[in-house]
Symmetry: C2
Subunit: 357 residues, 2 copies
């Protein structure tokens, strides 16, 4: 958006193929990013700029906010009579786009979360206590749920998983942690940054008050929620060694831990958008990753209406959340594992005990 | 320590070779860990237990606190007349053991930090602002310094690096950030958790007051320092988009991002300790990784006295810290790069600008 308004264009035709391939292996957005919901005035300016350069194709990569932007631009273009093919391309680590089985970005971020929990579980096993990890995902728990992929042995963490799809009760949380701690002598916990109480108020929003132009409260980038939960466990469960980490921006940009399936599908989504736009059949739309039912992993990309993916978010289906509201179900693991791909195998000593003398 | 006191022994001879190889690829301590400085009474109990099982070799893996424990046990064994060969094996992600060029654990943790900064630099480039990352290392800045390995293009972050070896001035910090931000429109910063003011008081210790039995203030596992620094930048440099992450426990345990050199040397240190202990020449000591001067990377392991590595820590040499006190020198990069090994290459669009119409 900002790039168009500033007439800040670059010519991707001047890139070498080798460099584009390297960029495809690189995290983050090579073209930059912006948090900007276009106003009617912005739209008018956008079309004036596009007309000057005779630009007739608009591709916008991102999540539901980006889909909303694409939808706004498309509606405004029709209203103003500016011929423009408007396509949104699915991409969000939050995995919360409707119409999509999953979205590019999620598999790689989920892989980071799983590998982080694998190591952290072992760290916690070596020096026991309670460990709380706060994970991104304001309204949808997919990325937090991915922590479950870290489990390889029956007593591996995360032992508890709290998603924004279920109301968070501090009393239940403390009791859950106590129960695990009494059983295992330790407890590793995955918590979504977006956990909210029964009234819908985010537990973290009481502490951080920064709002972006889409009206989202900024929750990442601070240890406030983890610190709050640690304090509760120390005070109410009387456990002394309690630590919290907030994964923050690392989970959406870490270099060198991408899912191969994710990379492949991200590229496929871009190709599909261009085909939809150039095929003559559609003037607008969004790419949606679909998946065959059954155990064999097979995906394809369909075109969907912009209004179907814009603004509203998708949540974890009930069938993937345990009745206890503190874990995922095996159905979620079955869903997420092929998107993330192979994970490193963690070793553990048999540690055959020597009889006491 | 605790395992001996509890007579909680396991027989490593019962492990399969395949399983041991898998454990060697796995982060964290497979045998567990403890923060315990043995008292005279503990030592006496330890020898009673060891005698019962006729255990005559004591290997203790860790940093300067573990070396101190080994030193205490060794001195007490001599005093009490219990024949015991006491060896400390070097290992700490902090890299702050004296006598060692570097220590097992550092290379892998440094690799994590470098890859985290590679991605985070791109995230910050895509959506500009100020980004502060708080890194482990209470008294030594080696791991924080490793963030510099992330730089591949001239304007890549981290743009500023603050080590505990130099007194931290909030005024200078704010001015440094302003200068980078005015030049690049963004700023990525690496800060050690242990940064202290001129009087030697840790900036973070004003906020967190938990002390382990070695007398170390607990600094990790909370966003307090990052939040504090963010607030200063927002208020004093008048920059609105400021974010902070605390890498926390991830950097010392992340699965799947180990340095191959580090893994090789960790194993070599263990082998060397056993050879020293069984060679008949020494009754005690520690393993120290030595390195040939010059550009060809070559290391070997020597035995050193326990008192040489116990308790006191090693710091970043002056030659590796920039005069400006907010960066490292090329000499540090030359030092650290071969220990970390190959890093993923980040792509960047040439982004040839289209002339404005």
């Amino acid at each position: 958006m900002q790039g168009i308004l500033d007439e800040n264009f670059c010519d991707l035709g001047k890139e070498t193929k080798a460099n584009l391939e390297l960029v495809a292996q690189t995290p983050s957005s090579a073209l930059g990013s912006v948090r900007k919901k276009p106003t009617a005035d912005d739209c008018h300016k956008v079309f004036k700029v596009l007309q000057k350069y005779n630009i007739r194709y608009f591709f916008y990569i991102g999540g539901n906010d980006s889909a909303e932007t694409t939808h706004i631009i498309n509606e405004a273009a029709i209203k103003e009579g500016y011929a423009l093919k408007c396509f949104h391309i699915c991409k969000t680590i939050d995995n919360d786009l409707r119409e999509n089985d999953h979205t590019p970005g999620f598999g790689s971020a989920a892989k980071f979360v799983a590998q982080a929990f694998m190591g952290d579980n072992l760290d916690n096993r070596a020096l026991p206590g309670v460990k709380i990890n706060v994970i991104m995902g304001r309204h949808a728990g997919f990325l937090t749920a991915a922590a479950a992929l870290a489990r390889q042995y029956p007593d591996d963490g995360p032992h508890l998983i709290y998603l924004p799809e279920r109301p968070f009760s501090m009393t239940k949380f403390v009791n859950d942690v106590k129960a695990v701690y009494n059983k295992l002598g330790r407890c590793v916990i995955a918590v979504s940054e977006g956990i909210s109480d029964k009234s819908g108020e985010a537990i973290a929003s009481k502490f951080i008050k920064e709002v972006d132009s889409h009206g989202n409260v900024q929750l990442s980038g601070s240890g406030a929620l983890g610190d709050l939960l640690s304090k509760q466990i120390k005070e109410k469960a009387k456990i002394s060694r309690v630590r919290a980490d907030t994964f923050g921006y690392l989970q959406r940009s870490f270099a060198g831990v991408a899912s191969a399936v994710d990379q492949k599908e991200a590229r496929a989504a871009g190709i599909a958008a261009v085909k939809f736009a150039c095929g003559g059949q559609y003037d607008n739309g969004s790419t949606a990753i679909k998946r065959a039912p059954g155990s064999k992993y097979m995906t394809w990309i369909e075109r969907t209406e912009l209004r179907n993916v814009a603004k509203e978010t998708r949540h974890m289906p009930d069938a993937w959340i345990a009745k206890s509201a503190n874990d995922v179900t095996p159905a979620f693991i079955k869903y997420a594992a092929p998107i993330v791909g192979p994970l490193p195998q963690m070793g553990r000593l048999k540690a055959v005990k020597v009889a006491k003398k």
